[in-house]
Subunit: 145 residues, 4 copies
C-alpha cells in the first residue's frame, strides 16, 4: 500500500494589490474568485492545456456552473497568498475542483466548483480526450483532502 | 387573510457594460458577485440601513461568510438584468439571503449567502437592534421561494 | 444670437459601491475609467448608437487611443457621482471627448479622450455615416468648456 | 563620459487572465492602470518602500494626481506582458513616473503619471526622507527615455 492514490495539488502564489481590496481594508469578496480562476488557468497551463488553443482546435471551452465559497479569514494588502487547486472528479463533460486560498498556515477561503465543457454555442460537450488525459494527474480522491 | 407571511423581495436593475464581460463574450463569473453586492447594498439603503453609518455608530459591519452561486445562463454586453434579493433567515448575528439574477423571464444565476455581523476587529457580534428591525420586512420564508 | 453653438452635455449618475473602493478608503484610480466608459456607452445609447449593432452591421467598433485623467478629489463609498460627457471634436475616423466626474458641486476628476473607429482587425476605419450623424448633437466647441 | 546619468528601469512581468479582458477580445482599457499600479508597487517594494509601513510610520501615502495613457496595441488573453517603470522626476512632494507595457518587442501602452505624497487627511505633504532616498536610484533623466 503506497498511500499515494491522490493526485497532485497545484499551488500558485498571488500577491494582493490595491485593486483587490475594498474600503473595509480587506480583499473584496468577489476578487477571491479572480484569484481562483488565475490558479485554475495556471493548473491547466502546467498540464499542457491552453484554453485559447482548446477553443481554436476543438471549439470547446470551460465554463463554471457552480461555485461555493467559504470565507474564513480576510486577505489584506501586500499579502502573498497561495492558491492550492485539486481536481476531485473528472467525468466525460464535467470537472469538479476544490481550491484553498491560504496565507502561510492560515486558511483564508475554500472553493468547491463544478466546471463544464461547453461548445461555442454554450451547450455542454465532451471534454476533448487529450485534455482529459492531461488533467488526470491532478485528479485527487475527495477522501484525502 | 391571504397567506402572505412572506416578506418583500427587493428588485434592482443593473446594466451590463464592457467592464463586466470577458473575452468569452459573456459576463465574467466573479462579476455576478459584484451585481449581487450592489443589490444587497440597495436593499439595505431602501430599508434605511446605511453601512457607513452602521460602522460609525455601532462599530459593526456585514461580512459574507459563504456564498454559493449557480450559473444558469450567461449575461451579455448591454443586457439589463434584474437582481431580486430576499432575506431567508435573520438571527441575532447572521443573515441568510437568496438572490436571483434574471434577464426578463430568464434565470441567469442564483446565489445563497450567509452574512455575519462583525466588529471592527473582525469578530462576530450582534446585529444592532434598529438594523434588525429595519430588515425584518424583507424576511421571507424559504418555502415560498 | 444666443452664443449657443455648443452641443448637449450628457449627464449620467453612478453610485459608488464597495467594489469600486480600495483599502485607502477611496475609489481606486482605475475605476474612474470604468465610470467614464459606462457614461460614454449611455451617451451612445441615448444618441441611438448601440455598439453591438454597430459591430454586427458595419463591422466597426470604438477603441480608446489615449486617455488623460486628472484626479482632483476622491469619491467614496455610497457617493452618488455624476459623469458629464461632451464630444469636443468629430472627424471621419476619430472622436475627441471630455468627461467630468462630479459629486454635487465638487469636481472629482476630468478626462480627455481620443477614441478611434476600428475594424474587426483593429485597423482604423471611417465612422459609419449614421453614427456620425447621431453623434453630432453632442458635439461641443472646446472654447465653451 | 560615463553615459550613465540614467537610473534603473524596473521591469515586472504580468500574465493576462480572463478577468482582464472584455468581450471585444482584448484587455479592457482601465485594466492597464491596474497592471501599472502593480508594477509601481513592486518597484517600491524592491526599493525597500512598503506602503502600509509608510502609512503607519509616517502617516503618509502616495496618490495619483494625473495619468495620461496611450494605447498602442491591445494585449490579449494569456499574453505575458512586461511593465517597465521609471521615475523621471522626484521633488519634495511629488513623483513623476513613466511606464511602458510591452509584449516582447511590441509597445502596447505608455503611461505618464504624476504622483503626490498625501497625509491621512488627503492634503499634500513631503515625501519622508528615507523614502526619497530609496527611490533615487530609480530616477532617470527624461532625455534618455
Amino acid at each position: 500500500m503506497n498511500g499515494r492514490a491522490d493526485g497532485m495539488a497545484h499551488v500558485f502564489p498571488i500577491r494582493v494589490y490595491y485593486e483587490d481590496t475594498d474600503c473595509g481594508g480587506i480583499v473584496y469578496y468577489a476578487n477571491y474568485l479572480k484569484f481562483a480562476e488565475r490558479a485554475r488557468t495556471e493548473l491547466l497551463r502546467v498540464a499542457g492545456v491552453n484554453q485559447m488553443e482548446m477553443t481554436e482546435r476543438y471549439g470547446m471551452g470551460f465554463a463554471v456552473r457552480s461555485c461555493a465559497i467559504d470565507y474564513r479569514r480576510p486577505a489584506r494588502l501586500d499579502d502573498l497568498v497561495q492558491v492550492s487547486s485539486r481536481l476531485v472528479k473528472l467525468t466525460a463533460a464535467t470537472i469538479e475542483a476544490a481550491q484553498d486560498i491560504r496565507r502561510g498556515g492560515d486558511d483564508l477561503a475554500h472553493l468547491d466548483l463544478r466546471i463544464v465543457c461547453v461548445r461555442r454555442d454554450g451547450r455542454p460537450g465532451r471534454i476533448p480526450a487529450p485534455v482529459r488525459h492531461a488533467l488526470k494527474p491532478y485528479l485527487q480522491s475527495r477522501e484525502h483532502c
